[in-house]
């Protein structure tokens, strides 16, 4: 059947196909525009590959079911948009604390609140990082192209499984609904990672860091495999049982954070265009970055020394990349985004005053246009 390996996929569709290619066999969700197609496609596609789809009673339950399924051994995903993403936060926090691999997709729409359900936004960038109580680093990936949705969904699963952590795929309505060509890798070309399992028969400490590379990620048994272990959202020790002792709890909280922060360089993906010699840098992500790219190309064509940094990994934040580029002399950094300056704020933090940061912002559903970016560049020139 698969003669041609190029397909027209909608962003949401590419996400489902990528997930299935990555080994996702469980999806629990609750419909919400503009992510709904992901649930709908999962309801069709998962049973075809022996997997399970369930539409739960709400987003909280969906996130809970995803955690349960993952602990029972399946690669699991959920998808939502702003209001549902807000509701999932408590159980995403559980997944982080209990170190449960899973992928959460948020196809962003205009907020706050119900906002504009069918219009694009990028207003959940900070929420993705900070939406939960307590400290927890989290990996957030953000595709801008439909083929990137496909590959990044696979990447999201790989990271989730390798680091035993929830990973957020932060899309926006434009990318989710857009249809583009995706050239599917041959099955053998796909790199698929699976969670590390404990050695059968050994005494299993589900939260005890081990030795060597990735030793900070303990192996994860599946329920039913005979290990009879305990999982809790209470601060716990290496054995998984609750502790009231700061000296037992602190290393645990620090480890789940540093699992991610210590891998910043490895986790951070970005696309750079003309950054070597740029004296104005444009930093953007998601669909806004496509407008930014057009603008940068157009400006380069007329000799403006402008460069583009398109962030693919949003969190952990690629401080080192921004600092490397800013080590050259930058006149200004321009940050186009469909929110009131969330990315710009982080960029400023990393720049430590090395260049002024100028935002290009839209918040009520209109995609940023290349002309908006060009105007901003011309103003600082």
């Amino acid at each position: 059947m698969e003669e041609s390996r190029s397909r027209l996929y909608q962003g949401n569709e590419a996400c489902v196909e990528g997930a299935i290619a990555a080994g996702m066999r469980f999806f629990a969700g609750y419909p919400i525009t503009p992510s709904t197609e992901i649930a709908e496609l999962c309801s069709v596609r998962l049973p075809q590959v022996g997997g399970t789809f369930i539409q739960m009673e709400d987003e909280i339950a969906s996130m809970a079911a995803v955690c349960g399924a993952s602990l029972a051994g399946l690669k699991a995903m959920t998808a939502t948009s702003g209001p549902g993403f807000s509701l999932k936060q408590e159980n995403i926090g559980f997944a982080a604390e209990a170190e449960i691999p899973c992928v959460i997709v948020n196809v962003q729409r205009v907020g706050p609140s119900t906002g504009m359900p069918t219009s694009p936004a990028q207003g959940d960038l900070m929420q993705a990082r900070w939406g939960r109580h307590g400290d927890q680093e989290i990996v957030v990936l953000s595709p801008a192209y439909v083929d990137e949705v496909y590959s990044l969904t696979i990447e999201a699963f790989n990271i989730a499984e390798e680091l035993r952590t929830p990973v957020i795929l932060l899309m926006d309505e434009v990318v989710g609904h857009l249809r583009e060509k995706v050239t599917l890798p041959k099955p053998g070309d796909l790199v698929i990672k699976d969670r590390k399992k404990p050695v059968p028969g050994s005494r299993y400490l589900p939260y005890a860091p081990g030795e060597g590379e990735d030793g900070d990620v303990p192996p994860l048994a599946a329920f039913g495999d005979g290990f009879r272990f305990h999982v809790t959202g209470l601060t716990h020790g290496p054995d998984g049982f609750p502790t009231n002792s700061p000296s037992v709890g602190e290393p645990q909280i620090k480890r789940i954070n540093s699992k991610i922060s210590s891998r910043r360089e490895k986790l951070c993906k970005a696309e750079e265009l003309f950054t070597e010699d740029a004296d104005i840098l444009v930093v953007s992500f998601g669909s806004s970055a496509r407008s930014a790219k057009k603008a940068v190309k157009d400006l380069r064509a007329v000799g403006v020394k402008v460069g583009l940094l398109r962030l693919i990994t949003l969190w952990p934040f690629p401080e080192h990349v921004i600092q490397r580029i800013a080590a050259g002399k930058l006149k200004a950094v321009i940050v186009p985004e469909m929110n009131l300056g969330q990315l710009a704020r982080e960029v400023r933090r990393c720049l430590d005053g090395r260049a002024p940061v100028i935002g290009v912002n839209r918040v009520a559903g209109k995609l940023i246009e290349p002309a908006d970016v060009i105007r901003a560049v011309q103003e600082v020139k």
């Binding site: 066999r25 469980f26 629990a28 069709v44 049973p47 075809q48 590959v49 022996g50 997997g51 399970t52 369930i54 739960m56 009673e57 709400d58 909280i60 339950a61 969906s62 809970a64 079911a65 995803v66 955690c67 349960g68 399924a69 993952s70 602990l71 029972a72 051994g73 399946l74 699991a76 408590e90 159980n91 559980f94 599946a222 329920f223 039913g224 495999d225 005979g226 290990f227 009879r228 272990f229 305990h230 999982v231 809790t232 959202g233 209470l234 049982f241 609750p242």
Partner: protein, 275 residues
């Protein structure tokens, strides 16, 4: 009888955190005994709980155990069960956990008839947070958030679950420990969603505030007020007063969710020629 139940316990974690006389230990023992008497393979039993004194039980039980977020145990358990239908999944929850914050998951699991056994350790109070009223606190009782007496009408949890479509619904109490064990056994054996409303005393917060001086007084209250399902049906409403029925209220067959979904998978795989 006389079987060694400690093999189902994480003895190194005992004594448990519950207060002296707390009913939760009695219910936990009943579950463990039911598992023992049914001869289930402990490696194939997963216990899931929410948050509350009751929900701490799994930490002492030697199976795969999952202590989740408040009210969400049934939703987590749904994921576990669907991912691995061969597991026996038992949910331990409290009246607050199951019926206040978690009420929605309870009714939806009942509706779906997914094969979970939910045992609600019902002490009609929030024990863990020190004695606030719950959705089953009786009218007029005192609680730390009902200082003038409870004014909200309580749920009858069994009625609620039956209204939602639950196919196995039963109630017992810690006084009736043997009966309780038996209904839990029936619940576990039931194919589909099963719910056991296990009345369990909280001497520390419910008893103390409501003129029951200790655990024994509370157990005696259960003894005096519990009425068998059949007697209850015959009892004129005017006589019921503080009495309540115990027993199995519903035991029906209906398609079980995981099995039905299996058929979806078969159909879908057939359609794409994967089978």
């Amino acid at each position: 009888m006389g079987s060694d139940l400690t093999k189902y316990l994480r003895v190194e974690k005992l004594p448990h955190i519950w207060c002296a006389g707390c009913g939760h230990g009695i219910v936990t023992q009943a579950i463990v005994r039911a598992i023992d008497e049914l001869g289930l393979d402990p490696a194939k039993v997963t216990i899931v709980s929410g948050i509350g004194c009751s929900s701490r039980a799994p930490g002492y039980m030697n199976f795969d155990t999952l202590h989740t977020t408040h009210g969400r145990a049934i939703a987590f358990a749904t994921g576990v069960k669907l991912a691995r239908p061969e597991l026996k999944v038992i949910v331990i929850t409290g009246d607050g956990d199951a019926a206040a914050i978690g009420g929605n998951h309870l009714i939806h699991a009942a509706r779906r008839n997914i094969d979970l056994t939910v045992v609600c350790y019902n002490n009609s109070i929030y024990g863990m947070t020190s004695g606030q009223y719950s959705p089953v606190t009786p009218l007029g009782s005192f609680a730390s958030t009902a200082p003038y007496g409870m004014v909200e009408r309580p749920f009858d949890l069994c009625e609620l679950v039956m209204g939602a479509g639950g196919t196995f619904v039963a109630r017992s109490t810690t006084y009736h420990a043997r009966h309780l064990t038996n209904v839990i056994k029936q619940a576990i054996q039931h194919k589909g969603f099963s719910f056991v409303d296990a009345l369990s005393q909280c001497p520390t917060y419910f008893g103390r505030r409501n003129n029951m001086k200790d655990a024994l007084a509370m157990l005696n209250w259960y003894k005096e007020n519990a009425v068998s399902r059949d007697d209850w049906a015959k009892m004129p409403p005017a006589e019921r007063g503080s009495k309540f029925p115990i027993g199995v209220f519903r035991d029906e067959e209906a398609p079980e969710y995981c099995e039905t979904y299996r058929k979806v998978i078969e159909k879908a795989m057939e359609e794409v020629g994967a089978k």
